[in-house]
């Protein structure tokens, strides 16, 4: 029976992928492709302008000499710069992922209710729990894994592009690549997926619940309810009762409901992470990132998210489409 349920889940997730191939697969690939293309064009433009004005950067092995004269500290700065180049090529993909997941969750149940195809899905022996969970899995696992893989591919291509360009100016490609940490960057990105999943749950749950509940305009409800609550809380100073500021409510309730599905939201939410970074990329390292598992914010979010997902299941089961 268990393996049967697993098979149903596999096909349900596959069905979500079929429907949302554009958002899950093509959006990150196209974003990565465009980013690389723009970079390539930038590099070519720079080379052309450079050549036209007779600026020959390191043509006589000057740059190579510069590198060979660098001390360990400078070297690590070069490595850092290359890592930043890798991360930056992924950043855009993850912004896109945030939007994809946000709108996917908002439409996941509402769309099938609106075009009444929910009646077709409900004519099959699949429970509402399985179906809604398959949507949670698609949003928090399938989409981010694909985006991460696309991001890693784009990052490596970006790194090679920079390295090859510099090699035209007499710099040893291998030496340069040894300074960067593509393996660490890759590992960091993959390692962030479980954290993303946990952090995104309240948002995913809230949006799915709105998607299953709203008769019309789920987008408006999803935004308006938390924002209106936030305004009321601010206006009447309700948080004062708990010795908390209205800002606390905005940051920990409104923002958590709406923006947790955007990658990196957890970094912004916890001031510590930015500050421990001391200008480095340390905050991306998993050792630092996984300290998030010790935060109350994360686990309260997980519990609230689970409750909202249960609500979405209940609404999908009993909401009468009339």
């Amino acid at each position: 029976m268990k393996s049967l349920a697993g098979k149903d889940m596999y096909w349900l997730v596959k069905r979500e992928f079929w429907e949302h191939r554009g958002g899950f697969l093509w959006a990150p690939l196209v974003t990565g492709g465009i980013f690389l293309l723009l970079n390539l064009m930038g590099i070519i433009t720079a080379e052309v302008i450079g050549a036209r004005h007779g600026i020959t950067i390191g043509a006589s092995g000057n740059l190579q000499r510069v590198i060979s004269q660098m001390d360990a500290g400078d070297m690590s700065q070069v490595g850092l710069a290359l890592d930043v180049a890798m991360y930056s090529s992924m950043a855009l993909i993850f912004v896109v992922l945030g939007f994809v997941v946000f709108f996917y969750c908002l439409g996941a149940i509402y769309d099938e209710r609106r075009d009444r195809s929910i009646l077709f899905w409900k004519s099959l022996p699949l429970s509402d729990s399985e179906t809604v969970l398959s949507k949670v899995v698609s949003a928090t696992l399938v989409a981010p894994v694909i985006a991460t893989l696309a991001g890693i591919a784009a990052g490596i291509l970006q790194l090679l592009m920079v390295a090859v360009t510099l090699s035209f100016h007499g710099i040893n490609v291998w030496q340069l690549l040894m300074l960067a940490h593509p393996a660490r960057v890759t590992l960091n990105m993959l390692g962030h997926i479980p954290l993303y999943l946990l952090w995104a749950l309240p948002s995913v749950g809230w949006l799915l619940a709105c998607s299953a509940w709203a008769r019309t305009k789920p987008f408006l409800w999803a935004i308006a309810l938390p924002v209106a609550t936030g305004l009321l809380v601010t206006w009447f100073g309700i948080m004062g009762l708990f010795n908390l500021s209205a800002g606390w409510f905005w940051q920990n309730v409104v923002a958590r409901a709406l923006f947790s599905a955007f990658p990196g939201a957890s970094l912004v939410a916890d001031d510590d992470f930015i500050h421990t970074g001391n200008n480095n990329l340390d905050f991306m390292n998993l050792g630092n990132a996984y300290r998030l598992l010790g935060s109350v914010n994360l686990w309260v979010g997980v519990v609230v998210g689970a409750a909202l997902i249960a609500a979405a299941i209940w609404f999908r089961r009993w909401r009468d489409e009339g």
């Binding site: 096909w11 596959k14 069905r15």
Partner: protein, 285 residues
């Protein structure tokens, strides 16, 4: 014969209307039941209750399951076509077949593909590229390949042309229906299905006003064509309905004595649509 569906005091109340008012009925195995009623009479609500799509009051047992709590089990043996065009618009024929084949334990893929071969549908075609008729062909191919004990059809041929409608019911009868299966169908095109029905249920204002099998319809109801001189005598027998055709009156009687009727004029079995119109008189007044 065993009861597939048993309803006791089945009620459903919306905010300001009663859709089903303590309804009782039983549907036996191996029947084709027409559930017929005017708009808003409660047909769709009854079907939704049977399919576990809506909460209700009272008792309802479908294949021995309670549709409210055992929907998962129930749907392995129940199929439904809710309306035309409820297949998701993005899905391809190939994907739909693949998906149902893997999640439905009683689906026969070979059978489905054989049905599809008889249509113009191609594996890569998406639902959004199909006409209404083709969508129904796909849906029917999926449903007929499922060995279900109960098939529920809610206005399955709405908006289809006559060729598709005829083909739809013909396929159902020839390739699907047998004594182990039961079909419940609602439609407004009564004339087209009356020859395939074995049972008839009329529903009006949330109540079952007629529940009978088709053979009993002929025994119980009769239409008599009466000349003007005998019209008064016919009216004295309290007909359900009276209408005029070519200067003669046609009366519809419920349970009147057959010999008396024959003395008044030519008798015949009424059509379901005439019976329906007579029964529902004044519904929208």
């Amino acid at each position: 014969m065993s009861a597939i569906v048993t309803a006791r005091n089945l009620s459903k109340r919306y905010k300001n209307a009663t859709a089903l008012d303590a309804v009782n009925f039983e549907i036996q195995s191996g029947r084709i039941v027409g559930l017929i009623g005017p708009n808003g009479a409660g047909k769709t609500t009854a079907l939704k209750a049977i399919l576990g799509l809506t909460p209700f009051d009272g008792e309802l047992s479908v294949l021995g399951y309670d549709p409210r709590t055992q929907r998962g089990k129930l749907m392995e043996q129940v199929c439904f076509i809710a309306d035309v065009a409820v297949l998701p618009r993005w899905i391809r024929v190939r994907e739909a077949v693949d998906f149902v084949a893997h999640v439905h334990p009683r689906f026969d893929r070979a059978k489905c593909e054989a049905f599809l071969k008889r249509t113009k549908l191609t594996p890569d075609q998406r639902v959004r590229q199909m006409s209404k008729g083709m969508i129904v062909q796909l849906h029917l191919a999926l449903v007929m390949a499922i060995d279900a004990r109960l098939l529920v059809l809610d206005e399955p041929t709405l908006g289809l042309d006559i060729l598709y409608r005829k083909q739809f019911y013909q396929s159902l009868l020839e390739d699907y229906f047998d004594e182990n299966k039961t079909i419940i169908v609602t439609t407004h095109q009564v004339e087209e299905i009356e020859h395939i029905l074995t049972d008839l249920m009329f529903i009006r204002d949330g109540k079952i006003v007629l529940d009978t099998d088709m053979e009993a319809v002929g025994d119980r109801f009769a239409e008599v064509m009466v000349n003007a001189d005998k019209a008064a005598a016919a009216r004295a027998l309290h007909p359900l309905d009276e209408r005029q055709v070519f200067g003669k009156s046609i009366f519809l009687f419920d349970g009147a004595d057959r010999a008396t009727l024959e003395s008044l004029g030519e008798t015949r079995r009424p059509s379901v649509s005439d019976l329906f119109v007579a029964t529902m008189k004044g519904t929208y007044a």
